[in-house]
């Protein structure tokens, strides 16, 4: 039992660290650290830079352009990325669609789509949720009906993150109404988000920003070659993604950067005659958050060590999403508390007070979503109770 990286891993860490130091633009770093939203252009050019260094599709196997790293290397990379202050960027194509195509896609699909994900040319968005369906995917209603060589899609998808930035979209659609609800779902690719019949309606969220969309499909024609796998295989594909290894789901690396940032802010900002860190409650709140994060990091290490050793991750891995989002919310709330009255001005108004606090409230508001999307905390607990504890 030991907690150290091997000499090779340490060398790798240095290499990655040096790359970020040299390549991450300072203004991008500052915006990211403040919690400010990045523009589409900023994200794309940064991802292209990553792509050109072979640092974009890091979880992919080498035959598809991945760097052939093991789980520990991917973990180190992500830790260095976060520690450098670099943003996560858009990753639906890399994390979601890539693995699906590799496992279920046709040779033509792989050839057509994978290279453009690798090079950050394509921005994929995800069409899963529908109004009224929430966490209950089996009830989705968007139809795809085969008409000649095309599927004709009608319906609507909601909570489509960065749908207005994306040029392509992968969707779950219903291709059969007769069979059991889950068996009638298929996985399909939409090549062009500006195609006729597609309307994207912005949804502004409670942080005042436009991340989300509702997408309407009105007789949208998609060639039948864009079906991934077989008709009716959509449910299987969706589940495949859920069990796919994700060593960064806990968000440890970014939370560590956040905590370090909070400690710096607490030391630098003076309130009522003393530094924030010299206020006993703030000091203990920060300590408690750091302890919670320590826990998260080591639970993550346990999963990582299992993965690295080729073992299935232990039961603790199912808790990473719940605890990870708790920690993100806790840190964002801590920053709001530290901001005091400076949490009140809306971030769209520029720097009314210290820059460090300008986006505190926006981040806090936005992160309320973290315990809702991707399987709400309540649904996650249902699953753990059933699957791991055998309660039903």
């Amino acid at each position: 039992m030991n907690i150290d990286y091997s000499p090779e891993e340490l060398e790798f860490q240095q290499e990655v660290r040096a790359w970020f130091k040299e390549n991450l633009p300072e203004d991008l770093k500052q915006k990211n650290m403040r919690g400010e939203m990045l523009t589409r252009e900023e994200i794309i050019s940064w991802q292209k830079l990553l792509g050109s260094a072979g640092y974009l599709v890091v979880s992919w196997p080498p035959e598809h352009g991945g760097p052939d790293w093991n789980a520990t290397q991917r973990y180190i990379f992500d830790a260095e990325r976060a520690a450098a202050g670099a943003p996560v960027g858009f990753s639906m194509g890399i994390i979601m669609l890539g693995p699906v195509l590799m496992a279920f896609g046709s040779p033509e699909q792989k050839e057509k789509y994978l290279p453009k994900i690798e090079s950050a040319e394509d921005w994929w968005c995800q069409g899963y949720s529908e109004p009224g369906a929430g966490s209950d995917l089996a009830s989705l209603k968007t139809q795809a009906v085969l008409d000649g060589d095309d599927y004709v899609i009608n319906g609507t998808k909601i909570w489509t993150t960065y749908g207005h930035y994306a040029n392509r979209c992968f969707c779950l659609v219903r291709t059969d109404n007769e069979c059991k609800p889950q068996a009638g779902i298929s996985f399909i690719l939409i090549d062009d988000m500006s195609a006729p019949g597609i309307e994207i309606q912005p949804i502004v969220s409670i942080d005042g920003e436009h991340h989300l969309n509702q997408v309407f499909f009105d007789n949208v024609r998609v060639p039948k070659e864009n079906l991934v796998g077989q008709e009716g295989q959509g449910w299987t594909i969706a589940k495949y993604l859920l069990t796919h290894e994700r060593t960064t789901i806990a968000g440890v690396a970014d939370s560590k950067l956040n905590l370090a940032n909070i400690k710096r802010i607490a030391a630098e900002n003076e309130v009522d005659g003393k530094a924030l860190i010299d206020d006993e409650q703030t000091r203990l709140d920060i300590a408690q958050a750091e302890i919670n994060l320590m826990q998260l990091e080591f639970t993550n290490f346990r999963t990582l060590a299992d993965t690295a050793a080729g073992r299935a991750p232990g039961p603790e891995s199912s808790l990473l999403k719940i605890k990870g989002t708790d920690t993100q919310q806790e840190l964002s709330e801590l920053k709001v508390k530290m901001a005091g009255y400076y949490a009140f001005p809306w971030h769209t108004e520029g720097f009314v007070g210290p820059e460090d606090f300008a986006y505190a409230t926006q981040t806090y508001n936005f992160l309320r979503a973290s315990t809702i999307y991707g399987g709400s905390t309540e649904v996650q607990k249902n699953v753990v109770a059933k699957m791991l504890l055998g309660l039903r």
Binding site: S129, G132, G134, S135, D136, I158, W159, I203, V204, S205, I206, G208, L212, E270, V271, D272, G273, D279, Q281, T282, V336, K337, G340, Y341, Y342, A343, F344, P345, W346, T348, E349, G350, V352, G353, T361, Y364, N365, R368, A369, T371, I372, Y373, S376, T377, E378, K381
Partner: protein, 374 residues
């Protein structure tokens, strides 16, 4: 012991509730939000005509003859509809400051102007590095002959951008955090040397940072004795803001409860899941417990015993602040995705309640203030 409302109290409560329900729908409010000042001056005039702007003030000062209890009734109803008009800054804070410390001339001019709806005011007390400590005053006032001027900067003055006149805490003597030596002044917002930077706040309201550069100022109350007045005024502000928060919490709760009964997931109403049921009971508990604390503090804020007043008010702020946070977060969480959107009122209640947690002092600040009373 009697916790029932008088007929007069019931009347004002019903009147404001009815107005909010009929004339201040979420759609109407959204339009008002988009207005330049973040509120509607014609609505404000309506309040004046209905006599609501005089609720907290004695009849001899031209008011309704009410107090914190009546003000709480108005504010709770305002909370139901997230009313945007600057009642807290103009009526509760500025009005009470004038009522507590104003000369008869000041009352005749300013308090009457407020009650009549012609005058908007705000109290400017917080400074860039003061935190929540009302005694941490760097703004200074200088006397030359009979006249004063003030210099310094006040931050996050709620309603400050629309105020015609400001009540400003400034130091006339003493060290930076001494309670003694703080005086209150009335400053004209249009006067020379006053610079106002207005901005939106998280709840869609407006606030301002205001700098004073030898701005002419008129003393309000006794020189050097402003702290006790300000401290009391802010306590009245806390009770009023708590009442508003209670209205917001109760609306969040009621709307969430209704949604839980209609929204289906996995083939049945969400509200049929036991975990949701217990969460709703917790939310209900937060609302009813907060109501108890509001009743308590709205009765005791008028106490002449400062320790009793401070314990009541700070205790209520701690308790209702925690409840507000929990209700706001749970209302969003239980609504799921739709709760995260601007389209729905839930997210707006969330931001109002989040702002409430920080207004006039955080939980930590008030827990200490409570403990300090012994």
């Amino acid at each position: 012991m009697d916790f029932s409302y008088s007929d007069e109290q019931k009347l004002i409560k019903e009147q404001v509730e009815k107005f909010v329900q009929n004339d201040y729908s979420f759609e109407t409010r959204n339009k008002i939000l988009e207005m330049d000042e973040g509120f509607d001056r014609s609505v404000w005039q309506q309040f004046a005509e209905l006599g609501w702007l005089g609720v907290p003030f004695s009849e001899e000062d031209g008011g309704f003859g009410g107090g914190a209890i009546e003000t709480s009734l108005v504010m709770e109803a305002f909370g139901n509809g997230m009313v945007l008009e600057p009642y807290l800054s103009t009526i509760v804070l500025s009005g009470n400051a004038l009522a507590f410390a104003g000369s008869s001339e000041q009352k005749a001019e300013l308090l009457a102007g407020i009650i009549g709806g012609e005058l908007l005011m705000s109290v400017a007390y917080a400074e860039a590095k003061s935190g929540y400590n009302l005694a941490n005053v760097g703004t200074s006032a200088t006397k030359a002959g009979d006249a004063y001027t003030v210099s310094g900067e006040k931050v996050v003055v709620l309603g400050g951008a629309s105020a015609d006149k400001l009540i400003v805490s400034a130091r006339t003597s003493g060290g930076n955090s001494d309670e003694d030596g703080i005086s209150l002044f009335v400053v004209d917002a249009k006067a020379a040397g006053v610079e106002v930077r207005g901005y939106k706040t998280m709840d869609g309201g407006r606030a301002a940072n205001i700098s004073f550069n030898d701005a002419p100022a008129e003393l309000l109350g006794e020189e050097g004795k402003g702290f006790a007045v300000l401290d009391r005024v802010i306590d009245y502000g806390i009770v009023a803001a708590s009442a508003q928060a209670l209205g917001e919490m109760n609306s969040s709760f009621q709307k969430t409860l209704a949604y839980m009964k209609t929204r289906e997931q996995f083939g049945k109403a969400i509200g049929s899941f036991q975990v949701i049921q217990h969460r709703m009971v917790d939310m209900f508990t937060h609302v009813e417990s907060s109501r108890s604390m509001l009743i308590m503090s709205s009765m005791k804020v008028a106490s002449s015993d400062a320790v009793e007043r401070k314990k009541a008010v700070s205790g209520a702020k701690v308790y209702i602040g925690d409840a507000a946070r929990a209700v706001a977060q749970d209302a969003v969480q239980l609504h799921g995705g739709i709760g995260m959107t601007e389209e729905l009122d839930i997210g707006h209640y969330f931001r109002r309640l989040t702002l409430f947690c920080g207004i006039f002092g955080s939980k930590g600040y008030h827990l200490r203030r409570f403990a300090d009373q012994g």
